[in-house]
């Protein structure tokens, strides 16, 4: 079923009786070429690109809950390509390019909105760092503009520029950055994968990974055993538990990241604004809610809810930056389970088990990576070779010292 304006019109005139479920609800078959554990954004996009780019369709995506019910369904939806390090740059640049064509690719409205991202800076040293980052982004072929204080004021007149703690010196504007509708990305990829023959199996929790002679042979699930030649673990915050089924310990510690949404307001914040010094970032959804968040709570957690000190910290930072939001009422907040690596960068790699692959460690930045992560993971699982854009996302880089520490804070679990 293709979506189009004409279709909306004809359905509207005929009582909207022609719409059908967007994907099938198949029972698991006993045997697949490839099993993807995890029906989130990354798992679904991997399945989609395995089918689309590599012609592999005997695939099952196993999801313990419902499709897109994890982090892809609750995040702050920021899409950007403003990375500095080789290894990250080309990957996120590719991801943004995929985002830019995603709606026509999937025939699905993911509401990708390139409203511009502004990262604020507050000192001469930070200005230098952002100028350097901006040059690296331009060098990669993406866009960046360094704004002085008056330049920021033209875009964001409502900020408190004279605040005593972090007076605003300027900002780095990334015009192609923006946001998207998080659920729609998962649904769009799910629909695209299903349409190409991939079985999307929900309420199917993997309880074991079968390994014979160092080679993966299938998985045990709550809906029976499923044989598979290749298995991909793409389970974000739950990576540690699933990898343990294969006898692996990962360089991952799962943390909480909280986010908040206010009641719907008239359009007031046109960009994505990031206030790094205060650990605060904000955008406004198309429904009108202000969507904002801060830093991790900073302790290992699977609770999917945070504690009040970070709530207070985020609210204080928001009020410091833009006092006008003080009258908005917070509607809800939540905590996502983040698979944090010591250096803050992800893993897309083989594992020591033949036929078993892993895509994890997205820290607090997995949403924008959904297209390229699926693209590169599909390439890895189909060909056995890392994609050029993800060649540095190695599982063994901590042991070998080939770190990707974008923040430059060190490779340690409590630092990212």
């Amino acid at each position: 079923m293709r979506y189009s304006g004409f279709r909306v019109l004809t359905e509207g005139l005929s009582g909207n009786k022609g719409w059908r479920p967007v994907w099938r609800d198949p029972a698991p078959k006993p045997d697949y070429d490839i099993v993807i554990i995890g029906g989130g954004g990354h798992g679904l996009s991997t399945a989609y690109y395995l089918a689309k780019n590599h012609g592999l369709t005997n695939i099952a995506v196993l999801e313990k809950g419902y499709l897109g019910g994890g982090n892809v369904g609750r995040n702050t939806t920021i899409v950007r390509a403003n990375y500095f390090l080789p290894g990250n740059q080309e990957f996120y640049s590719h991801s943004l390019k995929l985002w830019e064509g995603l709606e026509s690719e999937l025939n699905y409205n993911v509401m990708h909105s390139q409203r511009g991202l502004i990262n604020l800076f507050h000192s001469d040293g930070q200005r230098d760092a952002f100028a350097r980052r901006g040059n690296a982004m331009v060098g990669q072929g993406d866009d960046a503009e360094l704004l002085d204080r008056e330049g920021v004021r033209r875009h964001l007149p409502y900020l408190d520029f004279e605040q005593t703690r972090f007076p605003i010196y300027g900002g780095l504007l990334h015009r192609r950055g923006g946001s998207a509708r998080h659920d729609a990305v998962a649904w769009g990829y799910a629909r695209g994968a299903d349409g190409r023959g991939v079985d999307l199996i929900q309420n199917c929790e993997v309880t074991g990974i079968d390994i014979t002679g160092g080679r993966v042979t299938g998985v045990q699930t709550t809906r029976g055993a499923i044989r598979a030649k290749k298995v991909g673990i793409i389970v974000a915050g739950r990576s540690g538990q699933v990898a343990a089924m294969a006898g692996m310990r990962l360089p991952v510690e799962s943390h909480i990241l909280q986010a908040f949404v206010t009641e719907g307001l008239k359009p007031v914040i046109d960009h994505v604004v990031s206030f790094g010094m205060g650990h605060f970032y904000i955008s406004q959804s198309d429904k009108g809610g202000l969507v904002f968040g801060g830093d991790l709570d900073f302790y290992a957690s699977y609770a999917a809810r945070g504690n009040l000190p970070m709530v207070e910290h985020v609210m204080e930072a928001g009020m410091t930056l833009m006092p006008m939001i003080g009258k908005a009422k917070v509607l809800r907040s939540w905590g996502g389970i983040m698979d944090m690596t010591p250096d803050g960068s992800p893993v897309i790699d083989k594992t020591p088990v033949e036929g078993l692959y892993i895509d994890c460690g997205w820290n607090y930045g997995g949403f924008k990576a959904v297209p390229a992560s699926g693209w590169c993971m599909a390439h890895l699982m189909a060909t056995g070779e890392s994609h050029a854009y993800a060649g540095r996302f190695r599982l063994d880089r901590f042991a070998t010292g080939h770190l990707l520490d974008e923040e430059g804070t060190g490779s340690q679990h409590n630092l990212h």
Binding site: G240, V252, Y302, A399, Q412, H413
Partner: protein
Amino acid sequence: MRLTCPLCGSRDRREFTYYGDAVYASRPGPDAPPEAWDAYLHLRDNPAGETRDLWYHEMGCSAWIEVTRDTVTHAVGATRLIAERGGGRASGAGSPAKKKAPSKPRGGRA
């Protein structure tokens, strides 16, 4: 969330700095192989449930504390000083990768 410092009593979480799994207080010996250092620095059991992690009472008495905590419910259980736990092991103690490490954990400051 409140943590009980063995020296100062129940205190606000904001007085403490988190250092991750308490394995971090069990530094391998200088003769340990690279795999032991990788396991010590990077690899984690990352349990959903009971864990033991390392906290530093930064805005209090400067004690290093091992906290038994539930990562699913946030319930905080027993706490003890790292200096008093002796050769006690952290959450990762039973796993194969950890067993490669020589049995020379050093207590005290990591």
